[in-house]
């Protein structure tokens, strides 16, 4: 990794690049907000960001610091409330959900509730927030998180948000909407996918510049499947970095 950009910046750029134009995307706090801002400027001008307290279709001119603040419905097409948004997801109108977490396992399950046992916990984390709903109700979810062995774990201490649960057929057996689940994990080292239709386990799809497959394996607490060629992703472009640093997060809240 060169000194030109940080792993966080790379993660934001990769996330922005996979955002689809004219798609609806449920945006959680943090990196997804920066990625959605960047995507609207460069790759997906008609991305429809959806924020859980009511904003639909905002133009993300300034970085939201909270999922309900004015920036989440700035020049939006609608500003309603959390029930409307969550029911919109439940009705199948939200294509992508962007999530974070403290732990992720090989089936893409996420933990943002506790480290250790439930009560009293070793570490009490914020809890599900909208995470469980996004992971349950959006068509496809993308997780964005720091890559190390404490985070990429064999088994989450607590499954806050459903990935593929215990694997093939488990979501449907639990009653979750059909044909949903995680498709991507963007980390600080690479881009992962899932072996959907087969084992439903996490696969390695691409590495960041100057990161090796071995780096990723060593920083992952479970066996990552490698089913095809692992590509190396392009570093952030000068334009991506300029926009990120000068326009999107000039106060350096995240980057």
């Amino acid at each position: 990794m060169t000194a030109d950009y940080s792993a966080t910046e790379m993660m934001i750029c990769v996330t922005a690049r996979i955002m689809q134009d004219d798609s609806t995307a449920f945006i959680g706090t943090g990196i997804p907000m920066l990625a959605a801002s960047l995507a609207q400027r460069l790759y997906a001008p008609n991305l429809i960001p959806i924020f859980e307290f009511g904003g639909t279709g905002a133009q993300l001119e300034q970085l939201p610091r909270a999922v309900g603040e004015a920036r989440t419905f700035h020049r939006a097409v609608a500003a309603s409330g959390i029930c409307d948004i969550m029911e919109t997801a439940q009705r199948g109108f939200i294509d992508y959900g962007f999530l974070g977490g403290a732990q992720i396992d090989m089936y893409g399950n996420l933990n943002s509730t506790v480290i250790g046992s439930y009560y009293p916990p070793q570490v009490r984390l914020p809890g599900s927030g909208g995470g469980n709903d996004v992971g349950s109700l959006c068509w496809r979810t993308i997780s964005v998180m720091r890559h190390d062995k404490r985070r990429f774990v064999p088994r989450c201490d607590f499954v806050t948000t459903p990935g593929y649960l215990t694997g093939c057929g488990a979501r449907e057996a639990a009653g979750l909407p059909r044909n949903t689940g995680p498709i991507q994990v963007i980390s600080t080292l690479g881009k992962m996918g899932f072996d959907v239709g087969n084992t439903y386990r996490m696969t390695l799809e691409a590495v960041f510049p100057n990161i090796t497959i071995q780096d990723i394996i060593e920083n992952t607490g479970f066996e990552l499947l490698i089913l095809g060629d692992v590509e190396t992703l392009d570093p952030p472009t000068a334009e991506e970095l300029r926009i990120l640093r000068e326009e999107i997060d000039p106060d350096r809240l995240y980057i």
Binding site: G68, M86, R124
Partner: protein
Amino acid sequence: MHVLEEGRGELIQVPDIEAFREWNRTRKSRRLEDKRMTEQEAIRAFVTDGCYIGTELYGTVRCPMSLSREVVRQSPKNLRVAGQGVLELDLWLAAGLVEALDITYIGLEVYGTSHVLRRAVESQQVKRTAEWSNAAISWRLKAAAMGIPFLPIRSMLGTDTFRYSAAKVVEDPFTHQKICLLPALILDVGLIHVHRADRFGNAQIEGISGFAFELARASKRLIISAEEIVETEQIRQYPDRTIIPYYLVDAVVHAPFGSHPGEMVYVYARDEEEIRAWVEASQTVDGASGYLNRFIHSVPDHMAYLNLIGEERLAKLRGEAERR
């Protein structure tokens, strides 16, 4: 109704829909009465030891912060709380007021996890917690607002969030799929901050409405704080803008900058400096209690708090507000 699975979480507030109906019949006046009072009077009148309480929206967005600070000032004991919160619940937790939490998210958003929550739960100062998703808490309020004991939903299923909740899974008799049932959540006291209200409690909100509609209708006692008190004439001219009709409301508190340091869309912006002050202070027990002393216990009321913040800063926040 055959229950297939059941969360092991405690039902911290039991959904007695019949008692709620009876309460709404006998304890909620239909009379147009002047309900204006101060934060102090409202919290004293309605927030009691052990009550189940909830606030609407997050501490940084249209949240009843002047009411939340008054709760700290009066220090009711053993509150049971619907835990979807940022600054406001941090204050209550730091003040040691909370005994039980229906928790979905307590954190500081852009500034990360809540140290106060960590200390309060890890030390077992908060004695009982049950897990829910954000939608689940809102839908539980919606069930109460609809006057029904439960609502079916399609999230929570298959996860530990469900296992540590008090929800149930049954087979839907129409489609024969598994579905999650949430118990209604009836609050003893609800707090909501709005853009404007008349003296009877008819209230309007601008921008996103969060879960104000649902929480207002799910509360046995409802305290409204408002940036502005308007004439009822304005309400009657735009009845379609009323999100909370007066008969739901028990107290109306005039609270300009009532959401500070959070924002009030179209009126004033977030006070980033003040939010960061709490983020810093709350890292330690001493820091948090120093903050509580300085910004809450040392000032008698909301007006004194605003004086402490200073007109210069408030004017700046007004200037930074989102415009239509």
